[in-house]
Amino acid sequence: MKILVCISHVPDTTSKIQFTADGAALDAQGIQFVINPHDEFGLTKALQMKEAGLATQVTALIVGDASVEPTLRKALAIGADDAVRIDARPESGNQVAQWIAEYVQANPYELVLCGIESIDYNGGTVPGLLAHRMGAAFANACIGLELSGTNATVLREIDGGKEKLTASLPLVVAGKKGLVEESELRIPNMRGIMAARTKPLAVVAPSAVAAQVVSKRFEKPVGRTSVRLIDKDNLGELVRLLHEEAKVI
């Protein structure tokens, strides 16, 4: 069985986010990029499955331009067998889902692991769209996964509890922490980094797919203002401020 791990190349969670002067794009100067944390849980799960003899191959895939290749190399250094880069700068989740679906059609995988969302633009549409286009089963918010032959048992996070599902492969999973724990995440070692040099990294040309959603402009949230204290005997003023300034009542 082959596992495809779909990865987003996102700014490190401690990065200070700035936008270009016209607000049209992220200013990537000085930003360090990492494997999207939700995807990293999936990658680690895939490697564990391979080590347990449940999978024969783990492929890491990113849709992105050449600047994402260090992130793919890191996935290879951690243990993925090969990597695929679909050579495009996606604007919308529908494009990413379509391109990955086309890739999987030509190169079948029984299990596709995605993260529940990417932490850069908080996109979460790709896994569901991908499953639909593949005609595969889909499990969202997945926090546990076990395989037995061509069947999967999935543990999902739902409001106020957990849900256990069974599904048959092929299956697309949108996973998060719980698939594996943070302590199980892997740091690449030097031998892995050396081995990653010679592992295959295929670059695939994308088909023409129009973006269904186009970002126009980015703005940072307004910073927190200072607290205003209102005398406890002056409730009228509090009501007035909430009504006229904060406009919440």
Partner: protein
């Protein structure tokens, strides 16, 4: 003691990351991740207790910090010298004592066995040293011969089927728990040779040096040889004379130049963050001129050292780095780090002397680093000799 979260980010004022390859950056980030996960949370406690965190040996080996530039066929990672430097920088950013363990293992034990050893010696020892199954130490300094190692009195006598080793070595990192020691001793003709001494050989003991105020999370001791029978096949056959141990020191000092840079950047990063959070006279202390002077001078010195060290790494990769160039970098960077640690300590006021922040530990560690592997003054004389052609040693 609850460790503070390690928020370290390296300063890169001259955008030097652009001069590193993607692989170099991955190596640096991987090492940093490991330090943040396994070293930062525990190191202060071990340093306070003056105990070596032995559990780190396995992690250091897994990351690949033992002999990263030794070829893969002997268990190393086969990386270049800049990769080795970046790893030492990140590990010393965590703690100079942990970096010392790596320097000794890589440059002072694995390097001489690789460069001067026989093929049998390489195959016997290097894979086990790389995997951390064996830990090594390096015996050159003696009680009466520190800056003048050529005067050593430790000696080997050819007894026909073995050598008889006598003498004592002092200030030896890893000594108390080393499995093997690369020991430098004079033969009957006064020629310096390296021999591999194994723990368990009769007459070989390793008493620990106590009461250190520096490198407290690293074990230091003596190597004492009382009529130790060393098999003939344990002599390093391919190089002798003082140049042999000095070649090891070149490799270790190169790693120290990078390591000290890491300690300096950690002190700067800590002080910069503190200066923006600590409020006095109703504003962050980072807004005051005297604090800005300290920070501006720190980042200037760090940036100069980053440029010097990366260039040295390029020369080392090309096999062109001279002993003089390595001395200059070791001397400059360690002194720079020590001065930054002292200034940073002052910026944190009373908090700077506590174990809540890494600065005082770095500062005390660097007092050893500025002394070992050639003192600050000796490196000055090496540079002086290099530029004048005249030795001031005797």
């Amino acid at each position: 003691m609850a460790a503070r979260q390690d928020l370290y980010q390296h300063p890169d004022y001259y955008l030097m990351d652009e001069m590193l390859s993607d692989e170099h950056k991955l190596i640096r980030e991987a090492t940093r991740e490991w330090v943040k996960r396994d070293v930062s949370p525990i190191i202060e406690e071990y340093a306070q207790r003056a105990e070596f965190p032995k559990q780190l040996v396995k992690g250091l080996a897994e990351v690949g910090a033992f002999g990263p530039y030794i070829p893969t066929e002997y268990g190393g990672a086969g990386l270049d010298q800049i990769s080795y430097g970046l790893m030492m920088m990140e590990i010393e950013r965590g703690d100079s004592g942990v970096r010392s363990t790596c320097s000794v293992q890589s440059s002072l034990v694995m390097y001489p066995i690789y460069a001067y050893g026989s093929e049998e010696q390489r195959r016997k020892y290097l894979p086990k040293l790389a995997s951390g199954e064996m830990l090594g130490s390096f015996g050159l300094t003696e009680p009466n011969f520190g800056s003048n190692p050529g005067g050593m009195v430790t000696n080997i006598k050819d007894m026909g089927d073995h050598y008889l080793l006598n003498g004592a070595k002092m200030w030896i990192s890893n000594a108390p728990f080393c499995d093997i020691a690369v020991v430098w001793a004079k033969n009957e003709a006064g020629r310096i040779h390296g021999v591999i001494v194994e723990r368990g050989m009769e007459g070989f003991t390793t008493p620990e040096t106590h009461n250190k105020w520096s490198l407290r999370a690293s074990a230091t001791g003596e190597l004492v040889f009382d009529n130790v029978k060393v098999p003939k096949e344990n002599l390093l056959p391919n190089k002798s004379g003082l140049g042999a141990p000095l070649g090891c020191l070149d490799s270790a000092r190169y790693g120290i130049a990078w390591g000290a840079l890491g300690a300096a950047m950690d002190c700067y990063d800590t002080a910069l963050r503190y200066s923006k959070e600590r409020v006095q006279f109703d504003r962050p202390i980072g807004g005051f001129q005297l604090q800005q002077k300290k920070l501006a001078e720190m980042i200037t010195e760090i940036t100069k050292a980053q440029l010097l060290t990366l260039r040295l790494g390029q020369l080392k990769n090309e096999g062109r780095a001279t002993t003089g160039q390595i001395s200059m970098a070791k001397r400059n960077n360690v002194n720079m780090a020590l001065e930054i640690a002292r200034e940073a300590r002052q910026m944190l006021g009373g908090m700077g002397i506590t174990g809540d922040y890494p600065i005082m530990r770095h500062m005390m560690n660097l007092e050893s680093v500025v002394t070992y592997e050639g003192t600050h003054d000796i490196h000055l004389l090496i540079t002086g000799m290099d530029v004048t052609g005249l030795s001031a040693f005797k």
